[in-house]
């Protein structure tokens, strides 16, 4: 039967408390994820289903492969440049926040652009404010004279 992926012995269990086929696989899937590392065991219903379900057995094999692959990532190191060490050590010195700002200005293009953009905006706003104040003072002086 195409929709039944259980072995022949499973037919005797169809009247048990095990949920219908696909629901059962789905129900127990998180349990398989939990037991894949050997830290716990399937509960009796799940174990009963698992014994006769090739799909779930295949899933468990996949979980174990996945865990092996994840563990293998432990020895991988991402390339971090030496400047990171300098940043860490500078941040530990008194005035570390100043060094953090220096890092931002030496960082990625987007950060640098954002930081420089912020400074430029502040400078522009300051200059505009000064111009307005100077204009007002000049007009007051004209009026006074």
């Amino acid at each position: 039967m195409p929709s039944d992926h259980r072995s022949g012995a499973a037919g005797t269990e169809s009247e048990s408390t095990v949920p219908p086929l696909h629901d059962a696989c789905e129900t127990f899937s998180l349990q398989l994820a939990a037991v894949a590392d050997g830290g716990s065991e399937l509960d009796p219903d799940a174990a009963s289903h698992f014994e006769s379900c090739l799909r779930c057995q295949a899933e468990l094999v996949q979980y174990k492969k996945l865990l092996r692959a994840l563990a293998s990532l432990r020895t991988q190191r991402l390339a971090a440049d030496e400047t990171l060490v300098q940043e860490i050590l500078l941040a530990l010195e008194p005035g570390g926040t100043v060094h953090r700002l220096q890092r931002i200005t030496a960082g990625s293009k987007s950060r640098k652009a954002a930081y420089i953009g912020g400074i430029a905006a502040a400078a522009t706003a300051g200059a505009a404010g000064a111009f307005v104040i100077a204009s007002k003072l000049a007009s007051r002086q004209r009026l006074a004279s």
């Binding site: 195409p2 992926h5 899937s29 998180l30 994820a33 939990a34 894949a36 590392d37 090739l54 799909r55 057995q57 295949a58 899933e59 996949q62 979980y63 492969k65 996945l66 865990l67 092996r68 692959a69 994840l70 563990a71 293998s72 990532l73 432990r74 020895t75 991988q76 190191r77 991402l78 390339a79 971090a80 990171l84 060490v85 940043e87 860490i88 050590l89 941040a91 530990l92 570390g96 953090r100 890092r103 960082g107 990625s108 950060r111």
Partner: protein, 190 residues
């Protein structure tokens, strides 16, 4: 770095030897950065997390009693800093997906069959990991890559142990579904 040397450096750094602390940083920063990157998924954010981590290490070194390995202690602090960082970041913007990055295998496996099996899977796996929601990714990275106990993960993320386990199992399920899409035909063919 062997554990004896590490202990010597830690002891010296605790006494205020700045050079010893610098050497500890040099010996550990790549590993710390790798974990930080895997947790936050962004190079610049990872650098910030690493800085914050070593600031806390510097402040807390005197409290480090050496019951756990230095690397485990560092991983816990990194996880905590990354969690805080992710919490702040989520308020400001959506998480970006990582593109790619250079990797160096510090201890290449000697078994060529193992390597061949893992070769393709690793790159797909890294990609799939980065596509997980940060809450799920954090737990699976800490547990299944860095082997931190459930209790430690729960502590550092400020969640219950059972919540940490649920997140872990969900993360594993999502990764499996992504890496091994098991269609009906495949299922029957097994």
């Amino acid at each position: 770095m062997d554990s004896k040397r590490t202990n010597e450096l830690v002891a010296a750094a605790k006494e205020g030897d700045q050079r010893a602390f610098e050497e500890l940083v040099r010996e550990t920063y790549t590993d710390t950065y790798t974990l930080a990157y895997r947790l936050v998924g962004d190079e610049e954010d990872a650098r910030d997390v690493v800085q914050e981590t070593y600031l806390r290490v510097h402040k807390g070194l005197k409290k480090f009693r050496g019951d756990a390995q230095l690397s485990t202690w560092l991983h816990r602090i990194t996880a905590n800093c990354a969690s805080t960082y992710l919490g702040r970041r989520s308020k400001h913007r959506h998480d970006q997906m990582a593109d790619d990055f250079d990797v160096v295998d510090a201890e290449p496996q000697r078994d060529p069959v193992f390597q061949a099996d893992l070769g393709d899977l690793r790159s797909d796996l890294v990609d799939a990991l980065m596509k997980l929601p940060p809450k799920l990714r954090t737990v699976i990275v800490l547990r299944d890559i860095y082997d931190l106990p459930h209790e430690a993960i729960a502590d550092e993320l400020d969640i219950s142990e059972s919540a940490a386990k649920v997140r872990l199992h969900r993360a594993r399920k999502r990764l499996r579904e992504r890496l091994y899409p098991l269609g009906e035909e495949q299922a029957h063919a097994v």
